[in-house]
């Protein structure tokens, strides 16, 4: 299983990532998820979210999740990009691609990855309000 992980402050160029997809002729399904910063969090209007990472542990925990995916599904490739630092409303903070032979596997593995990430990967967010300097 090919594993590609990027944790970076750079904007996520989804089109370029999609254009770089590689999948073998036995693969039939590619599932993507883009998590985008929303304007409202609770009652507060945000201009963005600041993401902080304990990077070495975040990378390790992502790789533990990838290993668990490989155990459960015949995934050929997983690519994950997580932004850190300030991410403006309407921009993607997370991008995931999962490639598998069939649709059900790809969807299940992609959702598993995101749920496990939200429980284990050492990244935190802090809402930056519209009115902040």
């Amino acid at each position: 299983m090919i594993r590609t992980l990027t944790i970076s402050p750079d904007p996520i160029d989804e089109a370029a990532l999609v254009a770089k997809r590689r999948m073998s002729q036995g693969m039939g399904a590619a599932v993507y998820f883009a998590g985008v910063v929303r304007e409202m969090e609770g009652e507060r209007a945000l201009k963005g979210i600041d993401y902080e990472a304990f990077r070495a542990m975040a990378e390790h925990q992502f790789h533990l999740i990838f290993a668990a995916m490989k155990q459960r599904w015949p995934v050929e490739s997983v690519r994950v990009v997580h932004r850190i630092g300030f991410v403006q409303v309407n921009e993607a903070s997370l991008w995931v691609e999962v490639i598998a032979p069939h649709r059900g596997e790809a969807f299940a593995a992609c959702q598993f990855l995101i749920e496990e990430m939200k429980a284990k990967v050492t990244i935190w967010k802090r809402g930056i309000e519209e009115t902040a300097a």
Binding site: E52, H60, M117, A119, I123, W124
Partner: protein
């Protein structure tokens, strides 16, 4: 023995620092470290149940025994995505 401690997320605001070190008796556990930290940083008190701890890059249970020089991280629930 001494362990090195780093804080993440709003635990840095609660403690006023991003890193410290703590002197503990030999054989002390993660739980004992948290008790010692709560004594030094009163704003950490009361949040123990949702406090996560790692030694190195692995999550550590509260009864894990610490060793001299361990790099311990203390932080609230993660929120990636």
């Amino acid at each position: 023995m001494n362990v090195n401690v780093q804080f993440f997320s709003y635990f840095k605001q609660l403690t006023g620092t991003s890193a410290t070190s703590e002197a503990l008796p030999e054989g002390a556990t993660v739980a004992e470290l948290l008790t010692a930290l709560a004594a030094r940083f009163p704003k950490l008190r009361g949040g123990e149940k949702s406090t996560l701890v790692a030694v190195g890059v692995e999550y550590a249970a509260k009864d894990q025994v610490l060793r001299e020089g361990d790099e311990v991280s203390v932080f609230p629930p993660v929120q990636g995505g």
